[in-house]
Point group: D2
Chain length 366, copies 4
């Protein structure tokens, strides 16, 4: 490991940091005439990088060396494939997650669930507990919404994912849903991350709206270090200065994450765009950048939606998107989970063997 | 109220939105030949703006008219003065909140508490439950830290503020602290905001690192609408593109908030700067922009601090800051709570009468 | 047209703005009880929107109505196809622009030019006058670089594009190059935009690093309004807060631009990434979002490059990228200009007839 | 100097960079077992940092050591005081620069010039060549505007500053104005920076709207390295995500710049706010953060202004601002140039001797 120390340390500060490194089990050695670089030899643990970064005498970690966090992809390490029922993310598998922003009633939900299943979605999404900017907005049907989702699963066979907002709700959602969603507003909610980390149920973790990639990975690290390795990362757009889109879909972060973590990465073009007409091109861009899946808001009567109607696709538009995405996925030698993928597999049983890795060699890169 | 509707509404969409407005008690009327502007006449409630904004047919609220949220400053409405023991925020009162990032041990905490009290701090801050980006970082002493804070209060007479991270901890912190702190990472944690809103204990609410001012005010609205009017807003820097400072202190937001809400507004130059040498100029800038107080991290031996040592001021530096800020506050005809302010009042009993309002007339502004 | 006026206008302000609108040839009419909305009837000219926006009494243009700027895509208006030699952008044509960041010497340039031509590039790029952040950086070979580019064109048949930085250089570059490039740093350089606008030579205009889409289009408007309709817009990443990539490729802007302007739009994944290993996924994302071409930095010996070597692809990597992009382009029913596209056309002469429009219907969107 | 090299360099890459460093006159030495840190011993020149940063094998400069650029403040180096007529910036001197956004006509300009002079402005500002986002906006009176400014100078004795947009206009503006203004849009216009750098006339250089502090200083370096040391840096707000203000005034950058460059730094609260009612608090914040002056837009009839009227102060508001700022300046032991400062000096001749340095010691900071 290679550390850069702060300028102007005193000799007693240097003693402090040396002792600290030795206590972590390393052999430290100052480099250079100003002794501002510290090289550590020894075996690293996942927690060492954070502990050293926190030390007041340390300005930055130049090279984390062998101290690899749990989310990090080791040299040559394969994708972790996260399974949710028949859905799969990573390792050449792509899954579409689709459904309404919020669960409203049984009839509507069933209509959407049947529609998206028929078009190739592998998971049904729907909010029962909704995070809202305003206390006066519709905050979801709660328990009733969860039960409607479970009914829709029974009806269609699709596993369900729904957002959890409060650590006190984890047990209830664990019982009824197949995957937890942690929203952008909750990415830094350590109590919540720890609670879902204590289960083995898959977690769809969204990036905070101004979180760096490292902060995003450390949020996932909360879940993994609590014992749950089944995390799917979701890039949903970062806050930008222009108002043409609600957020800026950070396709570079998708591509970077695919290299630096073994966890699957999906894109949420609906929240990134905030407007229906850009969902398709952003979905295509996310898949082309390497995403292992998509989250898509779908609603047959957007004008009646109680939240985020402007970005919901109709069932027909979703069908078009699923077909389009399927073509892109096939072009990469990847496969869609769900019925479209089954048809593809039937036609070509050797499919996943040829999965192309979209990564170039990395010499000379930062 | 004046609404701008989305383009391309159908006639049945227009029927929907008309009915919705009537159900809220308004008389709606389309304006203009394209009928994309909707004027509502009638008495507004605080929740109407959010409900209308949520409607899929509504593109934006051009003028909220009489639908004033609870955090909004009404025409001619005076500042709400929030009191925490002898500390006061707003209405010409300025309070300094100072202390260590995290509580470490009794000796250190008492040394800091006595020091900052002597220099003019009105509230002692200290973290017992620490929000951390990494699961491997020091997360505070918990209950033990709270008890040490209570001891320091007994010793110095300073009221104490500490961060609450989890709705399950609200009762315990309510029992031991004088003011809740809601950190940046929790600004959108509705469950937590609602829990502290059910008490009457003052809440120091920090702006999320990429929250708009409206989102910030709606977070405060969660607390107010749950029944607790004692909120102090804290601008602590927004995320920027340059790494010279950890965040960008948004002095324009401080000045804007002072006009548009009756709640007090304070600045946190320590977290904005992320480096000790910029804390004083940012503190001065915050006060000059109209802030009703400051949050300052103080530690006598920064190299030993377990989190954020690089931004902590020494006790001497804090004393210098307090003197400097006191001069600025006096220049405005305002008054520091705490011992410096008492000396000032003794010398000039008519003090607060002359409190200058830093606002210019607002004609022609956006 | 629909204008929103500033609050608190006086009666004489209202007279001013009414007169102003009438002088522009409109019939203005106040809407609503507060008379803050102004509806204008009449025929609009391209310049009216800007002129009204500039008026102090006007807060914003809610709907520009018939006042369409020259860059705007009219209802049903087809793509403008910009041709540079055999290269074509727009209307189902995709062109790859490739070459070194800066021209260094004849041997190197010829090697690159032959290589990228063979892989399917349709235009050779190379900097002779380089914009640099520091006055001490290599600023290009100037005139000598232009002549080397012209030689490389003679050798390979590829047309050449090179950056112009100074209005005093426009004549010289006009004489030697086939397309002007206006870089990010010059997007707001009105003198330069006007000079290239006075020619008919195609202009590759890059978005400023924090320019809104509207500001970007108004920069193009400078060129069009000066008489030159041959502008290709280039999205090259906007400044973000995370340092994993140099910039954030704004794929939403690409998709939005494809809808709202008839001008072609290309992506520059090399500058967006700032690192070689992300160029391919970002190139794919740009094309998937609808871009009509790509700018790619290529160099056979990146370690020797005098600027931006870390993002240059080798000739082999570029060949792989060109093949990958060709597949994506074919999937959309589009066609690459250059030799790959010729092979594609030979195999399928009906090609461009089936060009799929990636746009969904836009009802209910912002 | 301490360099961090890119990972995965080959041995021949290492030879390349060693030779490069030796050619610059340094003795280089690899540090650490991975040989990714390079320490250079020897005398540095201002250009070395940029040249090394540009090298493809170099990832970043960890410590520039003795290679100090011309804009850098050396250890213990005093402020450079830039004089423009009787106006002075830096070294305890604060100057107010005030006037209309654009020059419109003689009567208006004279009214403003007389008014701001009487209130304490030390320089008259006014645009003759205006940079505009849209080609259809009013672009200033050009030469006629310059002559009106010169007449206003003759009338009031105030020196004049006006923007230069095009290198071809430098000679004309040099002849008529006392100070060049380089606007935000032109901060990266190297041709323009070089032209004004060839004169000795003071330059007011505005920060680009998303420029880092280092990019800003390198823009100033263009002027200094061309031979002109008389640069005043202007922080005018950076682009942010919230629309409550046009830009975010970066007071941290002002404080940072005061430490790291010897050049004076001023603030432009008018452009940062974009609205009149926030100009005063932002002006106060800028001065409190250490700014050596302010740029303020002033106009007696804002509704008639042809650009940026919404942010112009009336003459009365400017007078109030000047009085307020004067109090803050006095509190620091600093002095306003112009008539207010003369009154202050008359009352206290020892004034500038006591100028307090707002900087804290910098141990342990980044």
């Amino acid at each position: 490991m290679l550390l850069r120390l702060r300028a102007s340390l005193t000799e007693s500060d240097r003693e402090l940091i040396l002792r600290f490194c030795k206590d972590l089990g390393y052999s430290p050695r100052f480099l250079g005439s100003a002794r501002e670089i510290l090289e550590l030899e020894g075996q690293g643990r996942p927690e060492d990088r954070s502990r050293l970064e926190d030390h007041t005498c340390v300005r930055e970690i130049l090279d984390a060396g062998g101290s690899r966090e749990l989310t990090a992809r080791g040299p040559g390490e394969a994708d972790r494939v996260v399974r949710v029922g028949e859905a799969r993310f990573g390792g050449g598998w792509v899954s579409l997650v689709a459904g309404p922003c919020a669960v409203e009633n049984a009839a509507r939900l069933f209509e959407i669930a049947r529609g998206v299943a028929a078009s190739g979605a592998a998971i049904l999404r729907g909010g029962a507990y909704k995070p809202r900017t305003s206390p006066y907005s519709f905050r979801g049907l709660g328990r009733e919404g969860l039960e409607l989702l479970a009914d829709a699963r029974a009806e269609t066979g699709l596993p369900i994912v729904t957002e959890v907002l409060d650590p006190r709700d984890v047990a209830e959602i664990h019982e009824l849903a197949d995957m937890f969603q942690i929203g952008s507003r909750s990415m830094s909610n350590a109590a919540l991350l720890t609670e879902v980390g204590r289960t083995q149920k898959p977690v769809l973790l969204k990036r905070g709206m101004a979180a760096t990639v490292r902060e995003f990975l450390l949020a996932a690290e909360y879940v993994l270090s609590a014992g749950n390795p089944n995390v799917v990362l979701c890039e949903r757009g970062i806050r930008g200065f222009d108002k043409i889109t609600r957020n800026v879909l950070d396709v570079g972060a998708i591509a970077h994450l695919k290299m630096h973590t073994h966890l699957p990465v999906v894109a949420d073009p609906s929240h990134a765009a905030g407007r229906r007409d850009l969902v398709l091109p952003l979905a295509r861009a996310g898949i082309a950048a390497g995403a292992d899946g998509l989250l898509i808001e779908v609603h047959p009567a957007p004008a009646e939606v109680r939240s985020d109607g402007a970005q919901a696709l109709s069932l027909d538009d979703f069908d078009r998107l699923a077909r389009d995405v399927h073509s892109l996925v096939q072009l990469d030698g990847r496969r869609l989970a769900g019925i479209r993928g089954e048809e593809q597999q039937a036609a070509d049983p050797g499919l996943l063997v040829r999965h192309a890795d979209p990564r170039l060699p990395k010499e000379l890169t930062a």
